[in-house]
Symmetry: C2
Subunit: 344 residues, 2 copies
DNA sequence: TGTTAGCACTCATTTAGTTAGAGTGCTAAC
DNA sequence: GTTAGCACTCTAACTAAATGAGTGCTAACA
């Protein structure tokens, strides 16, 4: 049995209808809905075939059909028509150009949640540059030293270091000079053990401070921590009976969003079937995050330039308005991408 | 009509029973539950009185009674016996002494949520000292300057400032010296306009940089931003039918927790009736945050020393195990308070 | 005067039974 | 290959009756 054009039309009609109503779709509905001019009986025959092929499912004997994961996948891959969506508010948010990246991300993800009515998330663009630009030590008081670590891309980290004995301004100046001549421009794997011991020897009695500083540098440089995830509209999960009827599952999902467990992986694994648009769709069990078997996830990768890539996406029920969501994500993605182009 | 001892005993029995079962409590139950040796008929008379006085409510004619807000309040104020609770895990979390305050707070709030099974939140200790310790300008590259602002209490803020023209190392050194001799030790309201203009004049051609730096200082010094709230266990809201049956309301609550709207106020308003334990209970409509009319909120103020006060608390249904919650909060509060004492 | 037994009454919840309707699969005719 | 027709299935909605917990009130009792 193979998929012919008529079967595809019928499948499309079933899915469209099911997305709209959420009710199983019967043969009579399709008979009227499509312009194939076929009677319900004929449709029934075709539907039996589609069920055999695994595209649709019958919840119980005397009900209509609903799409299976395979059915959704077919729809998304071949029949979806992404609606172009103008996010008018977006421009405001982006043009205001909040100087804190964090605020911008929060704004965008909030916008996405409001527009789609699905739980939304965004990852901060991850910095692939992990080189140290410079370190700046300053004396805070007799027991505390401040280490400011500036990475390539002007990402800044602070660390307060406790000192055993007070350090004079001159010593600090000397340490600063020493650290920067040796370390600046380095990435973590370039900083060898011998360099560290060398520095310690040079520092003499202050070697423990140097050790602490290098620890701080190492921590700051390893970029993992930067994979921060912001969420918005988690409460939308409750709007979809498929997800909220089982409050056990809904609670688990909400918890996942609050604790951000596993969301990084969700947002970072790239599906092989990426079609170049940067949009990816994961349907039901295609999704490997625990508790999301009944969800679909749609993500888009955006790029702020300089290799800074982040991901923005939504999590919703399998019965979701894919066309709208993909359209919205495309629009947001291009908005974010443009941000960089304009900037330069 | 006044509250005598017997009425109080009966009220207590009603509330205790209702907290356990969640079902309206009838006269017969009380007759057996208490050791007053009264028949159900007598209890009924007393219950009629209690209802007239506003301590209990009858959901419908032929049902038992449930406590009103006023009833809960009476219970909490005069009859509650906080169970002493040992949070064994807590020591681990606190002793590990995560060097980042943020991680510690997240750990504590997670613990609270796990222990109580209620939605939990914690505010970072707010720094009441808003004096500037020092400013440190560093050159990042030709167009960017880094301003590190250190406040009393060693709270640190960074700000990248764009410069119109490249600044030499000497200029930056000079600006640093100038800023610190003038500004260090100052609070915002001590920094007068004339001082600022004075600085600008001194800076000559670099006055715009000075303006930017002072803006950054002003922003950093105003402590508002420090009132960060961390949450955990929001999903517990779904565990309590009183809150989750109406998924509209539950969604709103979850949203409040995600966006942290209004939670700062919730955690910072101190009830007049504070009894010196630092524990506060808000029942139902006593609570002024939107959407929390059906909740009770219990908070505890902790102090990390040096005037750094924060608040930790839970939000749950009015029918909550007050004894347990208050016990847990007391335990956590004293754990946090001790943290500081040990430290010094 | 406070307490209790008894009784009629109320009302939410449960249970069972019925009905209505949507949809199917299959067969036979077109 | 398509369609009309029919028997069948199963859910959802509705109705009616039974259940039972709990009340308020009255009258009797100590």
């Amino acid at each position: 049995m193979e998929m012919d054009e008529r079967k595809a039309t019928i499948l499309q009609a079933i899915i469209r209808n099911y997305l709209e109503t959420g009710e199983p779709v019967g043969s009579r509905t399709i008979s009227k809905y499509t312009d194939l001019n076929l009677s319900s009986a004929t449709i029934r025959n075709e539907m039996a075939d589609l069920e055999e092929m695994g595209y649709i499912i019958q919840p119980h004997t005397s009900a209509g059909r609903i799409p299976s994961d395979k059915g959704y996948r077919f729809y998304v891959d071949t029949m979806m028509e992404a609606k172009d969506r103008e996010i008018s508010e977006m421009k405001k948010v982006l043009i205001e150009r909040q100087d804190k990246l964090e605020d911008m991300l929060k704004g965008v993800v909030k916008l996405l949640a409001r527009d789609t009515q699905y739980a939304s998330l965004i990852t901060a663009p991850s910095i692939s540059m992990n080189k140290l630009k410079f370190v700046q030590l300053s004396r805070i008081d007799d027991e505390h030293l401040l280490a400011v670590i500036v990475k390539e891309g002007n990402v800044i980290r602070n660390k307060v270091i406790e000192t055993i004995e007070p350090l004079s301004e001159e010593t600090i100046l000397k340490l600063n000079l020493m650290l920067n001549t040796q370390l600046s421009g380095m990435s973590m794997d370039e900083i060898s053990l011998s360099m560290i011991t060398g520095l310690k020897v040079q520092a003499g009695s202050h070697s423990s401070v140097i050790a602490d500083v290098i620890d701080a540098v190492a921590e700051a440089i390893s970029a993992e921590e930067d994979l921060k995830v912001y969420t918005s509209g988690t409460n939308n999960i409750l709007k979809y009976p498929e997800l909220s009827d089982n409050s056990e599952k809904a609670g688990h999902l909400i918890n996942t969003f609050e604790e951000k467990e596993g969301l990084e992986e969700l947002m970072s694994t790239e599906l092989s079937g990426d079609d170049g648009t940067g949009i990816q769709v994961y349907i039901g069990s295609e999704n490997k995050v625990e508790g999301m078997e009944d969800c679909s996830v749609v993500t888009a990768t955006y790029e702020l330039g300089g290799g800074m890539k982040g991901t923005i996406g939504i999590v919703g029920p399998k019965r979701m308005d894919y066309d709208k969501v993909v359209g919205t994500l495309k629009s947001l993605k291009s908005g974010l991408d443009d941000l960089y182009k304009k900037d330069n």
